[in-house]
């Protein structure tokens, strides 16, 4: 393992549709996929550019924004819960459904636990009061139940459908 903890060094990441983005090793470390690149013996920080064919510049910068904000707010005072909440809300507000899904893909590809957890919660919050139809469409899932089978499960868990609007 090549470990050279020089503070000034940055890691170069190349998204599929834009210029190279430099990130600090601290941020890169949280992306498991990048981390395995770095740990590879042939990796030379100053010259190697890591190509990310599955991630766009927009997605990469969103993920870096999130990590930057959250790693800074952890280091500073404890009294930041409210502003963190605001940041998270703003962060999600800028994302339409499709963008949110793509960002989740990117976070999954880069394997960034903190962002993944956050986005999974965001999707869960988004779908929790939605109809089954909406959820299928959102996830691109095809209904493979027969009408009887679906009706049967609905009957068994009828209470879960109480007070929920269907569309």
């Amino acid at each position: 393992m090549a470990k050279t903890p020089e503070p000034k060094r940055t890691i170069s990441l190349k998204p599929c549709d834009g210029d190279v983005i430099e990130v600090s090793p601290m941020i890169a470390k949280q992306m498991q996929t990048i981390q395995s690149f770095i740990e590879d013996d042939s990796f030379i920080a100053t010259t190697t550019i890591i190509p990310l064919p599955n991630v766009t510049a927009f997605q990469l910068s969103k993920i870096i924004d999130y990590l930057n904000y959250h790693s800074n707010s952890k280091a500073v005072a404890d009294n930041v819960k409210e502003s963190t909440k605001k940041f998270d809300e703003e962060f999600l507000k800028e994302l339409e459904h499709d963008k949110l899904k793509e960002l989740l893909h990117a976070a999954n590809y880069l394997n960034v636990k903190e962002v993944l957890d956050f986005l999974c919660q965001a999707v869960a919050d988004l779908i929790q009061d939605k109809s089954v139809k909406f959820v299928r469409k959102f996830f691109g899932v095809v209904n493979d139940y027969s009408v009887e089978e679906e009706e049967d499960i609905r009957r068994t868990h009828a209470w879960a459908f109480e007070g929920v609007e269907e569309d």
């Binding site: 009294n79 819960k81 999954n108 999974c120 919660q121 869960a124 779908i127 959820v135 095809v142």
Partner: protein
């Protein structure tokens, strides 16, 4: 990337999303497709769901209405606010006696000696068989067990219910024997053992039973030790309290859970101190927080800590439920009872979180 009928996300991502849904939404999502139905029954998924639920502490509070002599339950959820909470699926009038990892132990009000263990999130319940002892022998003083405890481990799908108290034979005075009945969900049987001890409990002591390390824990009136029932060998033990804990002189102490560890909260006039038992076997207590009570000064004599995690402390007063956020040091009022209730809210308030643990 797989974009066929199975959807746009990898299975692991779907699992992570489903594990963050409220239980009701999760049950609806079973009808999305067969794969999702299977995922929701998977052991790995259930463990993940139960683990994540730790981050979302709630408390259950019984609201009694003296005018109409009725009572109802509410659930105070740190994320989603206050909602009504129903145990109607039990088809009985019940009282919540103990709560552990998402399961509740309830006793029937009309039928003495009838106990249920239920998971209100999934609406599954189990009626416990009557213990054969009950008709001939009595718990002291009024036929009710003094202590009711519920122990369920999220890794093993099983639970124990404990009923314990001073005991007397019909027509006799109590003889100092402390009888303990333990229900085992796997055997569907009660077992019984008797010891000789003389412990007394306040109402709060009885409510605050904590399950850690396969043992149930209670504080006693004397507040000089923690009474431990080790369920692996049916033995009562005593555990020392923090060395530098001051009890008496206007200091009150309570026993709570702290992210799976035993914890003592001491409330004095100006401070709330939180101890955590870092090393269970070495009896090593650490003080993890010292909270000033200045902001809620007028309420201090009437506040009772009900539940906590490393982030939050829930407290109940006569008419209010408060939550204290430890990091930002902010107090928030979560609920205020509107009509004049007969019983204070802390009188029957239990820690709760919603899990998929099975009680069948």
């Amino acid at each position: 990337m797989d974009t066929q009928g199975d959807g746009i996300f990898a299975e692991e991502v779907v699992i992570q999303i489903l594990a963050r849904l409220p239980v009701k939404s999760l049950f609806r999502s079973k009808t999305v497709c067969k794969l999702w139905y299977m995922l929701s029954l998977d052991n790995y998924f259930i463990q993940l769901f139960n683990e994540l639920s730790r981050k979302n502490p709630m408390i259950l509070v019984e609201i009694s209405d003296s005018l109409h002599s009725t009572s109802s339950l509410i659930c105070v959820d740190n994320l989603r606010g206050v909602s009504e909470f129903s145990l109607d699926f039990l088809n009985d009038r019940v009282k919540v006696r103990a709560s552990c990892n998402g399961l509740l132990c309830c006793s029937s009000i009309p039928d003495k000696g009838v106990f249920y263990v239920c998971n209100p999130a999934t609406r599954k319940f189990r009626l416990l068989p009557k213990s054969r002892e009950r008709p001939v022998t009595r718990f002291y003083p009024d036929g009710e067990a003094t202590l009711v405890g519920l122990a369920c481990d999220s890794t093993f799908q099983k639970f124990n219910v404990v009923l314990a108290g001073c005991h007397r034979t019909f027509g006799h005075r109590p003889d100092g024997s402390f009888i303990c009945l333990v229900f085992d969900s796997e055997l569907n049987k009660w077992r019984k053992f008797i010891s000789f001890q003389d412990d007394h409990f306040t109402h709060m002591n009885k409510n605050q039973v904590i399950f850690v390390n396969n043992a149930l824990h209670w504080l006693t009136v004397s507040s000089t030790y923690i009474l431990v029932l080790d369920l692996s060998c049916d033995v009562w033990r005593k555990k020392p309290l923090p060395y530098d804990l001051i009890y008496g002189m206007g200091n009150r102490i309570y026993l709570l859970d702290f992210d799976g560890c035993l914890s003592i909260i001491q409330i004095s006039e100006a401070w709330m101190n939180i101890w955590v038992l870092k090393d269970y076997w070495m009896d090593e207590w650490c003080i993890v927080d010292k909270v000033s009570l200045r902001c809620i000064r007028g309420m201090v004599p009437g506040i009772f800590p009900i539940s906590q995690t490393s982030e939050y402390v829930f407290l109940a007063t006569h008419k209010q439920v408060l939550v204290y956020h430890r990091k930002s040091q902010v107090w928030k009022e979560m609920y205020t009872v509107k009509h004049s209730s007969t019983l204070p809210l802390w009188f029957s308030a239990h820690a709760y979180r919603s899990t998929l643990l099975s009680c069948i």
